[in-house]
Amino acid sequence: MKQAAFEKRHQASWQRFARQLTALERGKLSGKDCQSFASDYRLICQQQALAEARGYSNQLIERLQQLTLRGHQQFYRHRSHLGARLIAFLLGGFPQLVRSQWRFVLAAALCFYGGLLLMGLLVYLVPELVYSVMDPAQVQSMESMYDPDASRLGRFAERGSSEDWAMFGYYIMNNIGIAFQTFASGLLFGLGSLFFLMFNGLLIGAVAGHLSQIGYGETFWSFVVGHGAFELNAIVLAGAAGLQLGWALLAPGRHTRSEALRLAAQLAIRLLCGAALFLLIAAFVEAYWSSMTYTGAAVKYAVGAGLWLLVLAYLGFAGRGAHAPD
């Protein structure tokens, strides 16, 4: 068949398909209007192959290529039911993922908690060491935050209770930002994640050691124990996700480095999303529970211990059942 006859015969169906595509791209078409889309799309694919095989002109082939490309974009998607997947992820997928990546989680935890404990002990024993990681102004502001005489605790302590909102926003911004940085810098062969894990561990350790040493221990520990369960572990998980990226580059195994990185990133991004959820919970707890002073320290410690057990039990045991959600 000559090209002109071919074009004349199919012109109308191409135009109809193009109109349908435009409507789909604007999201204006409902299911009923698309019933013939699959067969139309396949027909155009066949016509494009035919046009190429018969040596028709570039103009025509280009036009058909555009139609098939746009059709392909509408037809094939990496998409499924977001809500159902999210629930399955929370009920079982996330703890399963954490357990399956236990090597990275362990390495990140050792790095972070190791630095924290070491620095805490050192500062407790040798108080001047706190100035090796913080400048005097920062130390001063930390001390004023956890002064036992204050009525409200934590950052923003000097303001009244109406600013729980402000605190909530600030915590989300600050903590999730740190988690994202810890993750992303893992792409530098894991070094960035190690640095941020170490750095944050040392910083928190220094603060904890210093405040305990000057006698503000009770206000500090009762404040942080509740949300720390979520916040500290979230940083560890974000670091583990970053280390996973770095490891894929260092030891790609049987894949090329870029392929190994792509595969590792698919898992790591899910780990990071779980960590971000933890941080969201942590921000709630920190803004609305940890900052209250009318409950005694004993209650705070009890709730804090409960939360730590809850987090560890969730990561350790959720999703282990025979009928674990998939």
Partner: protein, 242 residues
Amino acid sequence: MSLIAPPASANRTGAPQTLLDTSLRVETPEGIDLLLRPAGLVPRALAFSIDLAIRGAILLMLYIALGLLGELGAGLGAILLFLVTWWYMVLFEVLNQGRSPGKMLLGLRVIHDDGTPVGWAASLTRNLLRFVDMLPFGYTLGILSCLNNPAFKRLGDMAAGTLVVYRDLPAVTCELPQEAAEPSPIALSRDEQRAIIAFAERQSSLSSARREELANILAGPLGIPAEQAVTRLNGIARGLLT
């Protein structure tokens, strides 16, 4: 801008098709090839600058509007700042067919390596890893990676398995010159047919001297007089099409 089809001889021998330009081919389940045209460094940098300016404007407006709200405003502001810095690109890319406003203006879009529209996981990965592409200053790692990759991928794109491609342009149709159709003096292979048709179609974009120069190359093999070459080739092209 024209997509020159690969030589058909490559098909016959089964050798991998190599193109002269940077286009990528992705085979679909229907057995046809999608042609993707990855966008280079300059349009991507321009698109990013536009997005940066838009984000700056949004933040400035927020700062002024929320300043009036006081303490509640400070909390909301922090959340919105977080959304704008980390989620601006992700939300636009996933919900707007792979296009942030900057990319839309430059005619670009983000897709998966297999040609499907970008999803949440991939978009989040490529935009979070932007942080590393910016290191040590001014996108140095991203630029080096982009210039070093055949598909112009930055590090975030490699990890997420995504591509930034040009959006398909509306097809321009140009009419063939009005010459009487005539048969070719010799039998033509498929590639030769396509070359002659392409010559006739592209004519309006060529100067007359260049047109004659190109046509004269074919005058000898086809056995037609050099001074009539352009007219005769147009006639043969019309004969092939109608």
